[in-house]
Amino acid sequence: MNGAALFGVIAAALVGLGLYGLIVHPQPLRKILSFNVLGSGVFLIFGVVARRGAGAGMGGDPVPQALVITGIVVAFSATALAVALLLRLFEETGRASLRSDVSNANDEAGGNS
């Protein structure tokens, strides 16, 4: 086993770990954090693919490496938006939970804007 294959397996494990956290954690912030771990696992797969494609005097294929840089910035943007949504939800309701809002939407006076 070489380094790239080893990190490939680790990346796959991180995807599973992140997915587990995303499903199991009830707190939205933990879900967001798990999403970041899941995302980093996916980015690492790109990294492994890039490393496997080393050649032409480069340590890795620059295309997937560039895609990861774009991906990291996008993932940060997503985290920022999700965190802002969550904090606003907390300010409005004093809770930070996704549960029980379905019944809320049905019960609350069906006002429109």
Binding site: P28, I45, V48, V63, P64, G111
Partner: protein, 506 residues
């Protein structure tokens, strides 16, 4: 610099279709205030013109339009490609966005000299962003560029859901966001594996290299799963109803009519362009079965809704289900007729007619709710007499959903039904008939109430403008009139598919 013979004449229109809305976003953010509405209103006819020009370019050329970005051809560079499907989607999108924009003027107007307000700035800017993102989905032909398009779409759509700032819309937006993020990260995972196996991202190049090996199966399953979450196919639909029901009416119309279809469009690209003809019948049956479950489940739950907007949102869950009958039926037909067969045409007819019908219904429901101050169906009795045009728009949209002739929905469902019988897959036909009946039940339940006796004093209604009612009605008439046009323009759907068809035949 490499040569440019890849770019076709009028290919620059593809760049404009994507870039123009985003230029609008930048200007709108920079200038703010009143400018944002003006920029959007200025770009709406321009965007519609560009979409129509691309469609007629594709029609006249009889082939896909191409544009090589930056002069770098794939595999290193990215090309834009407009085939018949793109053309149909671009025009549909432009019409619905323009209607939603005109409709929203009353709600998001900024008076002269007034200070900038939050909701109008956000609505106009994000409306343009949704438009640009959708156009990118329809015009790109690069797997990673699709990912960027999906993210643009998510980031533009989520804030629209909670524009009102009410607590329940915030929760709905957050849940939508989490589903959407999970969807795109799974999609991206598949992209990584495909690049690792084939070293290209361009759809055309990939389709010529891809083989039915385990890596391709794993990658495409992951990508499809992610996209199913974004298109809200049962059982991944949980986020959709509260999100679509809580948004402002014009935004609901755009979200339900267009945004969920962006992800569906990519699933079609994956299975019919990236890996044409290689979708195994079992997988196609599975997609069809999920679609069937969505049709039945969505309709039944819609029937039980107490609020009008939630009912319409659940009907979206059901109507998306029909789109997935395309997979087993196209795969099931004689390969030579895949692209001019009833299933292919019927599927796209369903998509377009649902877009018009659903946008009309959300706009009409918005007006009803605005007039009554709420959207509780039980308390809307007799409102049909106060708002006849809006209720008519709702009714016509509903007829199209049910598949009653003459309407686009009828033609769509008829074609799908025929295809199902021809392919010997009668079980889809049964589901479609049941879905039609259930749609009839939920539409007539509402209409019976709206046209029925007044449950309370109607005098307290807020007045709504006839012009806005007319917009809803025009969209509904659009959905109906699709039932009258000949199927000649449907040939557009075959343009640019010859390459794919050859591979099917192989």
């Amino acid at each position: 610099m490499s040569s440019f013979e890849g770019t076709t004449a009028s290919g620059f229109l593809l760049v404009l279709a994507i870039v123009a809305p985003f230029i609008g976003v930048l200007l709108s953010l920079a200038l703010g205030g009143r400018a944002s509405e003006r920029i959007a209103l200025l770009l709406m006819p321009m965007g519609l013109g560009i979409a129509v020009a691309i469609a007629s370019g594709v029609w006249r050329a009889g082939a896909a339009l191409l544009y090589v970005l930056g002069g770098w051809k794939p595999p290193l560079g990215v090309v834009l490609r407009a085939d018949g499907l793109s053309a149909v989607m671009l025009v549909t999108t432009a019409i619905v966005i323009c209607a939603a924009g005109l409709f929203a003027r009353a709600e998001f107007q900024v008076p002269r000299g007034a200070p900038e307000r939050r909701a109008p700035l956000m609505f106009w800017t994000l409306l343009l962003a949704v438009w640009g993102a959708l156009n990118l989905v329809f015009l790109s032909s690069d797997l990673f560029n699709f990912y960027v398009a999906l993210e643009l779409l998510t980031f533009a759509a989520v804030p629209l859901v909670c524009l009102s700032g009410r607590a329940e819309t915030l929760a709905a937006a957050l849940r939508y966001m989490l589903f959407a993020l999970l969807g795109s990260v799974f999609y991206l995972l598949g992209v990584a594996l495909l690049y690792g196996a084939y070293g290209v991202l361009d759809v055309g190049l990939l389709s010529s290299r891809i083989r039915p090996d385990p890596v391709a199966w794993v990658a495409l399953s992951l990508m499809t799963t992610g996209l199913l979450a974004k298109t809200a196919l049962f059982p991944l639909h949980l986020w959709l109803p509260p999100a679509h029901a809580g948004a402002p009416p014009a935004a609901s119309a755009v979200l339900s009519a267009l945004v969920v279809k962006g992800a569906f469009f990519l699933i079609v690209r994956l299975w019919f362009d990236v890996m044409p003809g290689l979708l195994p019948q079992q997988a196609a049956q599975l997609l069809g079965a999920l679609g069937a479950a969505a049709v039945l489940f969505g309709s039944v739950v819609a029937l039980r809704q107490a609020r009008l907007k939630l009912l319409i949102a659940y009907s979206t869950v059901a109507q998306i289900g029909y789109l997935f009958f395309v997979f087993p039926l196209v795969i099931g037909t004689d390969v030579a007729h895949a692209w001019n067969g009833a299933a292919w045409t019927g599927g796209w007819m369903q998509l377009v007619s649902h877009a018009f019908a659903k946008a009309a219904m959300f706009l009409a429901a918005g007006l009803i709710a605005e007039a009554a101050g709420h959207d509780r169906i039980a308390e809307l009795g007799g409102i049909g007499r106060a708002l006849p045009i809006s209720v008519l728009a709702f009714a016509l949209g509903g007829l199209s959903l049910m598949g009653v002739p003459p309407s686009g929905g009828f033609v769509a469902k008829w074609l799908l039904l025929t295809a199902a019988v021809e392919a010997g897959q009668w079980w889809w036909a049964l589901v479609m008939l049941a879905g039609g009946l259930l749609a009839g039940a939920y539409v007539f339940r509402v209409l019976g109430q709206l046209w029925g006796d007044a449950s309370g004093p109607l005098a307290s209604l807020t007045k709504v403008s006839i012009r806005r009612e007319a917009i809803a009605l025009a969209l509904a008439l659009g959905a109906v009139s699709l039932g009258f046009v000949s199927l000649e323009p449907a040939k557009l759907l075959q343009i640019g598919r010859t390459h794919a068809a050859e591979i099917v035949l192989r």
